[in-house]
Amino acid sequence: MKTKLVILALVTLAGMAFAAPQTFDFKDPKGINNAGFKLDAPLESINGSASGISGSVVFDPSNPGATQGKIVVATSSLIVPNPMQRQHMLGDKWLDAAKFPEISFTAATFKNVQTTGDTTTADVTGRFTLKGVSKEITVPVKLTYLKDKLGQRVPNQQGDLLVIRSNFTIKRGDFNIMPGQFEDKVSDTIEITLSIAGASPK
């Protein structure tokens, strides 16, 4: 009986070691991580992306629903093809990048968690902060855990990767970005596509 209890304790400890939460860093040395945005107004369509991604996420492969973390986008890293448009976008009337250098999302709770193999889908509720205004939003996410794949992406590094994909929309008016103005040229609805990978070195 005692032997069985010892074995059970050892197996439990071993299981916990393999399933321990890991911290994934989303600063991407390859520059692939990006957040795309699209504003489709009646008179104009604006497409751009941001590559200044950072942040960290704590993820447990055995309990994906307990994931916590924060993703940050540097406001100044937002790019649109036209230079004048970019200047206006980052200026004080719109995003005011000088005063509000970060756009962030802090995950709080995961619901509708479904895991198939290495992939987990869920609805994440958290605080989205843009131009100094924070709002609670719920967004769908897809997490893909790539065990021992870090070395294939970054030479001389061993570890795991966590890929996060999400598509969601926000309204710029909710974040005090020229609410109700120029909506025929700058859509109130902003479609955001997040494509990022974080690394957890061993």
Partner: protein, 83 residues
């Protein structure tokens, strides 16, 4: 002189239209960079790298038309050299 100015105005406008048409006939604003998709083989993620490239848009055509128009108006006030 009058004729020269008008010829320059026409060349300017026609040249701008040809340049605009041969670089993609972009009906939006002029671009100074274009997105290039990059796929990460390990994660499957599609990244975006912005490449510096001048792509004239409708504002480019408008500026050319404005320039041609100004030259045309100036030509109205320039004395003809030939009698």
């Amino acid at each position: 002189m009058r004729k020269t100015l008008r010829i320059i105005a026409v060349v300017l406008m026609v040249g701008a239209v040809i340049f605009w048409a041969t670089t993609g006939a972009n009906q939006g604003w002029t671009k100074t960079r274009v997105p290039q998709k990059v796929v990460d083989e390990v994660t499957g993620l599609e990244g975006v790298h912005w490449q510096d490239k001048f792509v004239p848009g409708v504002d480019f055509l408008a500026m050319a038309a404005l320039g041609a128009g100004i030259l045309g108006v100036i030509s109205l006030f320039v004395r003809n050299n030939s009698k």
